[in-house]
């Protein structure tokens, strides 16, 4: 009983996270390309309730950053002017669900003040905003690539399992080849084969296609196993005896038995593929600037001085950990739910 609550808690948290990412425009105070050139690598803003005179404020506020006179390149809080944090603040334009234009943000401060929950990057862009927008690309890449992989795996696995023989052998050995491919280098090769300037949308599709196409072999193998055992079940043989066609047997009696594997594999593949996209973008093979993705956010860490000096640049990577944990929790719970013991 307790475990069930935990499971649904994780599912709801994860769904809420996806919803926040989906409505990044509302939850972020800025637009992903808005630069604060005077504040490169500014640390995260601290939210205060008590000002420098010791007065308590009901409305939280932030201080601005000014350069530290004693240590060049770092900031100190400018205690002169507090900037109160407004809820439903008016800010840069965005579109709700890509359709309805709006300028209302969940929170914000009046200019010239600024609020950077996760600090800024080298161009003074708000990392929190870019994390939310970057999630749209990274999560979408993971989800679509996983769906593609599973669709392919389902088709190949059920054909191999159902018809068997040389077809089975050919498909499964093909799968082995795909599993043995060094996919990262394959991606380099594919990217190299394309012209230098490719529209962002096509790059995105290319990444998704390559990640999805390479990963079909494992789900296909699992689904083949289920199909192989399901087609020998007596009610499948019985249905054949009543004149059922192959397609009917697959659709009505065999494929429904693979759905639990599809679901479990989906929750396993999504974080894996998000990570694949993050890796690619980290290496500069993904979506280019100024569009953010989780990988391109982290690519700033390739510079040693960023790595050594600006700890908040790690935050996107740290935030990914609970997301991946949540997915693997769900995968575990599903596996337990569908295990033969439970049935």
């Amino acid at each position: 009983m307790n475990r069930r609550y935990t499971f649904w808690g994780v599912v709801i948290l994860l769904a809420a996270f996806h919803l926040v990412i989906l409505s990044a425009g509302f939850f972020s105070p800025y637009s992903y390309s808005e630069q604060h050139r005077d504040l490169p690598y500014a640390p995260p803003s601290r939210i205060h309730f008590i000002d420098s005179q010791g007065h308590f404020h009901v409305r939280p506020f932030v201080y601005g950053w000014k350069y530290d006179a004693h240590s060049p390149g770092s900031y100190v809080a400018d205690l002169a002017t507090p900037y109160p944090v407004h809820v439903f603040a008016f800010g840069s334009a965005y579109k709700i669900a890509g359709l309805i234009p709006s300028r209302i943000h969940l929170f914000g401060v009046d200019p010239p003040g600024s609020i950077f929950l996760m600090g800024t990057d080298g161009y003074g862009r708000d990392q929190f905003t870019r994390f939310l927008y970057g999630g749209q690309i990274s999560l979408a890449a993971g989800l679509i690539a996983a769906a593609l992989s599973l669709a392919l795996g389902l088709v190949v696995g059920s054909i191999a399992g159902f018809y068997g023989g040389w077809l089975d052998n050919a498909l499964m050995r093909g799968g082995d080849v795909f599993m043995a491919l060094p996919w990262l280098y394959l991606l380099f090769a594919v990217r190299a084969a394309l012209p230098l300037h490719v529209p962002q949308g096509q790059i995105f599709l290319l990444i998704v296609a390559v990640i999805g196409l390479i990963g079909w072999a494992r789900p296909a193998r699992l689904i083949r196993g289920v199909v192989l055992s399901a087609k020998e079940r007596n009610f499948v043989l019985a249905a054949r005896g009543f004149g059922a066609s192959d397609f009917h047997l697959l659709r009505r009696h065999i494929l429904p038995r693979t759905y639990n594997i599809v679901l479990t594999q989906m929750t396993l593949l999504i974080p894996q593929y998000i990570l694949a996209e993050v890796t690619l973008s980290f290496l500069g093979l993904g979506i280019g600037q100024p569009l953010p993705s989780w990988g391109s956010l982290l690519s700033a860490l390739q510079e040693y001085y960023v790595l050594a000096s600006y700890w908040w640049m790690y935050l996107p990577a740290i935030l990914l950990v609970p997301v991946f944990l949540a997915y693997s929790q769900i995968a575990n719970a599903l596996q337990e739910l569908f295990s033969p013991v439970a049935l």
Binding site: G164, G165, R233, N234, F235, L237, A238, A239, R240, G241, F242, G243, A244, S245, H248, R252, H253, P256
Partner: protein, 275 residues
């Protein structure tokens, strides 16, 4: 003209290990329209192989079938998979011995009957369902709606077997192959099932190939009886003739063991304390 004419049928299994195993060797028989032909023999003598060979349901890779099976003059063994699909379930149907596993556990049994109808008749789904209700009524269920909506695990073994029978008879086949239909049923369900089968036969002129090793079932149902041993038909005739004075030692053994058991049962009943 017989409905089914089997000539020189042989089935051998080619498994990856060892020599091919000849399960059925040169068997010939015929079934007339509306007749019940009994097929008897010990386990492993090739009864079920004959049933599956008639329907062309044996796995093609492992099983070699030779000879000919003429159904209404057409050789079943030469037909393609498409043609076979139109015959299976519509002209020839089969009921298996284990109703527990012949039904999908995740579908309502009524829908499983309706699906057979949909496979063979160009009817909309709702009409298939109402046809299925009629058929479920015909196999001896009183509460048709309750049975229709049930899942296999909610029914008893006897009820499940009657659902399998409903599936088999949904499209009014000319021949029903019943492969040990009562083997897993208790005495009461067994007798219910045979009652239903007999009344259906009376109404529709259905021919039945009844495979059963139980002499009491054959005695009640079979008009003619084939006795099989180790892949050959060793004896045939009416049940009464064979039981009384067969020349074949195997027939005497199969039928005799049954009589021995009857005598034993009688004695137990006589000696049991009354009340």
């Amino acid at each position: 003209m017989p409905l089914v004419e089997v000539r020189d049928l042989s089935v051998s299994y080619h498994l990856s290990s060892g020599d091919p195993f000849a399960a059925v060797q040169g068997v010939s028989f015929h079934i007339r329209p509306g007749e019940t032909l009994g097929l008897m023999g010990e386990s492993g003598c090739g009864k079920s192989s004959i049933a599956l060979a008639l329907m062309q349901l044996l796995p093609k890779r492992q099983a070699r079938v030779a000879g000919s099976v003429l159904f209404r003059g057409a050789n079943m063994l030469a037909l393609g998979e498409r043609d076979l699909q139109t015959i299976r379930g519509a002209a020839i149907s089969i009921v298996y011995q284990e109703p527990e596993i012949a039904l999908s556990p995740v579908m309502r049994v009524g829908d499983q009957v309706a699906e057979v109808i949909r496979a063979h008749r160009p009817l909309p789904w709702q009409q298939c369902r109402s046809c299925a209700r009629d058929v479920i009524g015909r196999v001896g269920f009183a509460q048709v709606e309750r049975i229709y909506k049930a899942y296999p695990h909610q029914l008893s073994g006897g009820q499940r077997q009657r659902i399998c029978l409903a599936q088999a008879l949904a499209c009014d086949p000319a021949l029903l192959i019943a492969d040990e239909p009562t083997a897993h049923l208790d005495a009461r369900s067994q007798s219910e099932l045979l009652d239903v089968l007999q009344s259906l036969k009376r109404d529709s002129g259905l021919a039945v190939l009844l495979i059963s090793h139980a002499p009491e079932v054959q005695e009640r149902m079979a008009e003619r009886l084939l006795v099989m041993s180790a892949g050959h038909i060793v004896d045939q005739g009416r049940f009464g003739q064979l039981a009384g004075n067969s020349h074949h030692p195997y027939t005497r053994a199969v039928l005799g063991s049954a009589m021995l058991r009857d005598r034993w049962t009688d004695r137990v009943l006589e000696e049991a304390p009354a009340g």
